[in-house]
Symmetry: C2
Subunit: 296 residues, 2 copies
């Protein structure tokens, strides 16, 4: 793997993948929308940034110019519970933009893709039952991709991501909230019950992308046309996670139990897909928390 | 069934369905885009036309105002082999518009939908393998619909349409081409081989929509969440079809065999889904051709 193109490089998983690729000496072209926050990409050496403003002809030229051996597609808009005003943006960012990318790849003769799906597509562990509109747009993109696979010989691998956590996470999520509570001493609101989480450390997730792309180039029969779970070894309960933080930090995490409303729908049974061949998560919850506190 | 809303009323199947609904005394609101050709709807008595220009709040108001017991969603953009310039329009018309409709239904408390899918989603009779980008957008819409079914209690039925033909068809398709060749005496180009077609007369298709919507209102367990094939009793070869026309018209159809290039991909094995409960095609090829010639 010498040259790749990626979308979503300004996102949490994306910027870590970009850093890893560049660190491995791979030439990375990051396709960003105008206005994407590039501050975290400044530290990635040798990254080429190209902007896509929706002009499909220009996108074809970018693909033809970059000539990537593989494309990582991680861009997407996430909303847990959408409002009416989110609909058009979810459709544009998660479906239309992806299809434009595929169309440009086709025109430029680039046909290897590794992309990020979500375990939210699999409520109750089912083959497909979306937890939210975001998850439905992810499934819709996969169906659009099927056309390029069936008709244009694309070689594509889908990685189903679970709950990704890691150092330097700026997203409004549970783990950053625990960190903030430890730091500030202010009690964090948590649900009244003890929910289970499917945490995977970001470095493990990045490794899954690296393994999948390498296989797609060198051993496509193993991965092309398949979906793989980038899942944790096991689920953890919130109380286990809090206890692990407390052991590492040497002090209690201040909490306000019952002050966080339980979400309307949760993944009681996570999807049980096969892992990427040769990959399994290496970073235990304890080790993940150690790295995360070290980065913080 | 007293009040319905429909999309695609300006299309071929749609305008026949609108006519049937109005003829049965059902109040029909037709949701059209600005610029849709309304000429064929002028003859439909009592039809209410409302325009949707992409404003989702206005669409919610239209749904709330019409209070339909069921929505027929037939609108769509069709391109057999898309060009790069078609991509955005296919996505907008076949996915985004449909999701806006679903979102407006949800907001207005309307939750019954019957919509048109295509047998092109099932290349080689498979569960899903799209023949073209159009078919992929249809599948993507079904994925989006699954969200409204799973999370918002929608009651939806999918009718998988095959090759619909009938009188007064203005679309560039085989049957209108045969009619034109009979009328003008100019030889029509046909493929060198003898392809099979899955023809269903438009009145049978309209009946399938009527049956499905009635069941969805009165006996939802039989149809909600299901996909049904609006398929012919049997496939016909092109030579059979030409022979049937020649018998009815009493003269040969002038043809130029081999002058029409065989398409890159055809449906060698059509999808074998269950029919709408209680429905089966009533109009034989001979009877269909009789009606069609009578209308012409």
């Amino acid at each position: 793997m010498n040259r790749v193109l990626m979308t979503g490089a300004a996102g949490y998983v994306g910027h870590r993948l970009a850093r890893r690729l560049a660190g491995d000496g791979i030439a990375v072209t990051a396709l960003l929308r105008p206005g994407s926050d590039r501050s975290r990409l400044a530290k990635v050496p040798g990254l080429t940034v190209r902007e896509h403003d929706g002009d499909l002809d220009a996108l074809v030229a970018i693909l033809a110019d970059a000539k990537p051996e593989a494309v990582f597609h991680l861009a997407g808009k996430y909303v847990r519970e959408h409002a009416r005003a989110d609909v058009a943006g979810l459709m544009r960012d998660n479906i239309l933009f992806g299809v434009e990318l595929l169309e440009a790849m086709r025109a430029a003769g680039v046909n290897r893709l590794v992309h990020a799906a979500t375990y939210f597509q699999h409520m109750d562990g089912s083959a497909y039952r979306p937890l939210n509109l975001y998850a439905a747009t992810k499934q819709a993109f996969e169906d659009m991709l099927s056309y390029y696979v069936a008709v244009h010989g694309f070689s594509a691998t889908t990685l189903v991501l679970y709950d990704v956590y890691g150092g330097g996470d700026w997203r409004r999520r549970l783990i950053p909230a625990i960190l903030a509570a430890l730091r500030s001493g202010e009690a964090m609101p948590i649900p009244g019950d003890d929910p289970a989480l499917d945490l995977v450390y970001v470095d493990d997730v990045v490794e899954a992308f690296m393994v999948a792309a390498s296989l797609l180039i060198e051993n496509p029969d193993q991965v092309a046309g398949h979906r793989f779970a980038v899942a944790p070894g096991r689920r953890c309960t919130l109380s286990e996670i809090l206890a692990a933080f407390e052991r590492r930090a040497g002090k209690p995490v201040p909490i306000k139990k019952g002050a966080w409303p339980a979400p309307a729908r949760t993944l009681t049974v996570p999807w049980q897909g096969p892992p990427v061949p040769g990959w399994q998560p290496q970073i235990s919850l304890d080790e993940g928390i150690r790295r995360l506190l070290a980065e913080a």
